[in-house]
């Protein structure tokens, strides 16, 4: 009895040690002395990247863009944390980075209000902060980098007005999560984009909550109710793909043009869908990963003190002409 139970007690101990041992495989730090201070090209810099939720493909691509860009800067080491959509976890992630004495923080916040305090704590401790995609409140950050959803929606609208339906026609819209800022801005921008062409009318609006399956079921219903749709404008590529599936099963896919937004360079993303002919066009929603590392290099390696507070990134139109080329370039 004693030996058997003794073994188990030992087992717990060893278990704990093994777990911790698995933790010690990683690099423990770079040894740079000054927190967030620029020591020029000779320094070594630890950058913490706090991601809101890697399970979203867009954010996965953002992380890998940062990783690829950082590989080009020999002075940089980037460590990643994933909050799995939990604000409390993301606060802890940033705190742990601060404990590790990172030289610069990149954060794509899950939500603004809950992350504002910890971001401003980092900033006030002298750590430069680059905020990606979603903002925090106030001004306690070094630079915000992100796309402009209104401009992207507008570009989509102009593409429909000038290229797809110059003589007018009917549009069905599949919207993202109601109340979310990107959904609102992508809707408003689109309306401004088509305003120059009086012949274009939005005859149906469905809510697909950003999801492929809901895009499909919503468009099933829209197809039932409307005979004469020319273009489907979806607020993101998965919903556009869902709409395509719905049209295909109704044998109407060939009569329609589908456009989406995001253009992720992944096998399930919008660029591939354009290459395969399912979508007519998609618009790049930039991750800002490359720009974040460029900005970090400006701050840490080149000791620039005047990086812009806000960097708004341009979208890019992806059609069958450039899809294959862009995909190849982005996936390396």
């Amino acid at each position: 009895m004693v030996t058997r139970s003794g073994k188990f007690a030992l087992g717990l101990g060893l278990g704990g040690i093994t777990l911790a041992a698995s933790a010690c495989g990683a690099e423990s730090g770079t040894g740079s002395a000054v927190n967030g201070g620029c020591t020029g090209p000779d320094g070594e810099y630890l950058i913490g990247m706090s991601q809101a939720n890697v399970a979203e493909p867009y954010r996965e691509v953002m992380d890998s863009d940062i990783e690829k860009a950082a590989a080009e800067v020999p002075q940089f080491e980037v460590v990643f944390a994933d909050a799995a959509q939990d604000n409390a976890k993301q606060v802890s992630d940033v705190e742990n980075f601060l404990t590790q004495q990172i030289d610069l923080l990149i954060i794509s916040p899950n939500e603004a209000a809950p992350l504002t305090d910890v971001v401003s704590r980092a900033y006030n401790e002298g750590v430069p902060v680059i905020v990606l995609d979603r903002k925090v409140e106030g001004n306690d950050y070094t630079s915000f980098i992100g796309g402009d959803n209104f401009e992207i929606g507008k570009a989509a609208g102009e593409y429909v007005a000038n290229d797809l339906l110059p003589d007018g026609g009917n549009v069905a819209e599949l919207q993202g999560l109601p109340g979310s800022t990107p959904a609102q801005e992508r809707a408003d921008g689109f309306r401004e984009g088509i305003a120059g062409n009086d012949g274009i009318e939005i005859i149906a609006e469905g809510v697909g909550n950003w999801l492929r399956e809901e895009g499909q079921s919503q468009f099933d219903a829209i197809l039932q109710a409307n005979e004469d749709i020319d273009v489907v404008y979806a607020h993101n590529d998965p919903m556009a793909e869902g709409a395509y599936l719905a049209a295909e099963s109704a044998a109407r896919a060939d009569d329609l043009e589908f456009i989406g937004i995001d253009a992720l360079p992944v096998p399930s993303g919008g660029i591939k869908a354009v290459m395969d002919g399912r979508l007519s066009a998609t618009f790049v929603y930039p991750t800002g990963g490359q720009e974040a590392i460029d900005t970090a290099a400006d701050i840490l390696v080149d000791c620039k003190t005047n990086v812009p507070k806000e960097q708004i990134l341009e979208t890019q139109l992806i059609t069958e002409e450039n899809a294959a080329e862009v995909y190849k370039k982005k996936t390396g």
């Binding site: 704990g16 698995s22 040894g31 409390a88 404990t99």
Partner: protein
């Protein structure tokens, strides 16, 4: 037919033997047959302290494997320790309530959702309805208490398993939270005037004593102290252990089973609501999606702390140790930049280890 009836008759007897035995290890009250002697007693002590042995091992390992900067162990940095305790405070508060529930052999799946409801409600009352701090806290705690009590009452009076009732409760609390806020998170901004929360509420995301000790950690410690006191010193606790050990025997010996059960679920609801208030204050936001999956983290802390899911055996102290163990483990893995997926994996392994120890404990 006869056979079935026989089986039904047998069941309580079997439960009486096994869980009565388990209960004897942690509670001195209705233990029959005196203290275990010699080797057994030593083993009992080891098992009773399993969560502390585990906590100690993880703590020592955390120091050993913590990254160092200029010879300083980053894990032991006072700010880092404060971060760890703050990070486990919310789960810890919920887990203390969960301990009572699991001690009676029950389960409460609604705690994370009730926490989300409370966080949303706190923000809604402070910001949209301009309630003061005390009115807000009072109303929210009352909601949690009543929500828990109603679940306990439905479960006992209709004889429905707590698992089902609280699963339904989870959905209802989430639905109510989404309705209350229109599906959106409500940011909490501070100041005097309309649609601003009183500055006092910001205390929850501040640190006192040289800016080192996070207020949520103090609340966690206070709740823990009360929990330990209640579970060691009161008649209520003896009833809780008795019901968990053997509900029928407890009923026959005059324990007001239904009342105690309702009270236990009310405690779990109350503490979940308190956790929600802390959560809202600490994150400056009340979101209806707050606390998704927290019920599982709370159950994990309770189980790692050595409380038996069969009821009747366990302590609040163990639960606190379990919560801290998970917090330290996550912290040291994060400090070493270990992949988040491996963090999930290690949590799973620790739970298995803890439950394996319990199972051994029942057999010796």
């Amino acid at each position: 037919m006869n056979e079935k009836a026989d089986v039904k008759e047998q069941r309580p007897t079997a439960a009486m033997v096994s869980s009565g035995n388990a209960g004897a290890l942690s509670t001195p009250w209705y233990r029959g047959g005196g203290l275990p002697q010699g080797r057994r007693a030593w083993l009992d002590v080891l098992f009773r302290l399993q969560s502390f042995v585990g906590l100690l091992v993880v703590f020592v390992a955390a120091i050993a494997f913590s990254p160092r900067r200029n010879g300083v162990v980053l894990f032991l940095d006072p700010n880092n320790i404060a971060n760890v305790v703050r990070a486990v405070s919310v789960i810890g508060i919920i887990a203390i309530g969960m301990t009572f529930v699991i001690l009676i052999g029950g389960i409460d799946l609604s705690v994370g959702a009730v926490m989300g409801l409370a966080a949303t409600g706190s923000a809604a009352l402070l910001i949209n309805s301009d309630y003061g701090i005390f009115a807000t806290v009072g109303v929210i705690l009352a909601i949690g208490l009543v929500f828990g009590a109603v679940q306990g009452w439905i479960s006992t009076s209709l004889g429905i398993q707590a698992f089902i009732v609280t699963l339904a409760g989870l959905q209802i609390a989430r639905g109510l939270a989404r309705m209350w806020s229109g599906g959106q998170g409500i940011p909490i901004a501070y100041g005097d005037g309309k649609n601003l929360a009183p500055e006092g509420f910001a205390l929850l995301n501040s640190r006192v004593i040289n800016g080192l000790v996070p207020v949520p950690a103090l609340i966690f410690i206070a709740v823990a102290a009360i929990g330990i006191f209640v579970l060691h010193k009161t008649k209520f606790a003896r009833h809780v252990y008795a019901i968990g050990g053997n509900e029928r025997a407890a009923r026959l010996s005059g324990v007001p089973v239904a009342r105690v059960k309702v009270a236990v679920y009310a405690i779990a609801g109350l503490l979940s609501a308190l956790a929600g208030i802390v959560f809202a204050g600490q994150l400056n936001q009340g979101s209806p999606n707050a606390g998704i999956g927290y019920e599982l983290n709370a159950i994990a802390a309770v189980v790692i702390g050595g409380t038996s899911l069969m009821g009747g055996s366990g302590t609040v102290v163990g639960t606190i140790a379990g919560a801290l163990l998970l917090g330290i483990l996550n912290n040291v893995l994060a400090l070493n930049n270990i992949d988040a997926n491996i963090q999930l994996l290690t949590t799973g392994i620790v739970i298995i280890l803890a439950v394996a120890l319990q199972s051994i404990r029942r057999r010796v």
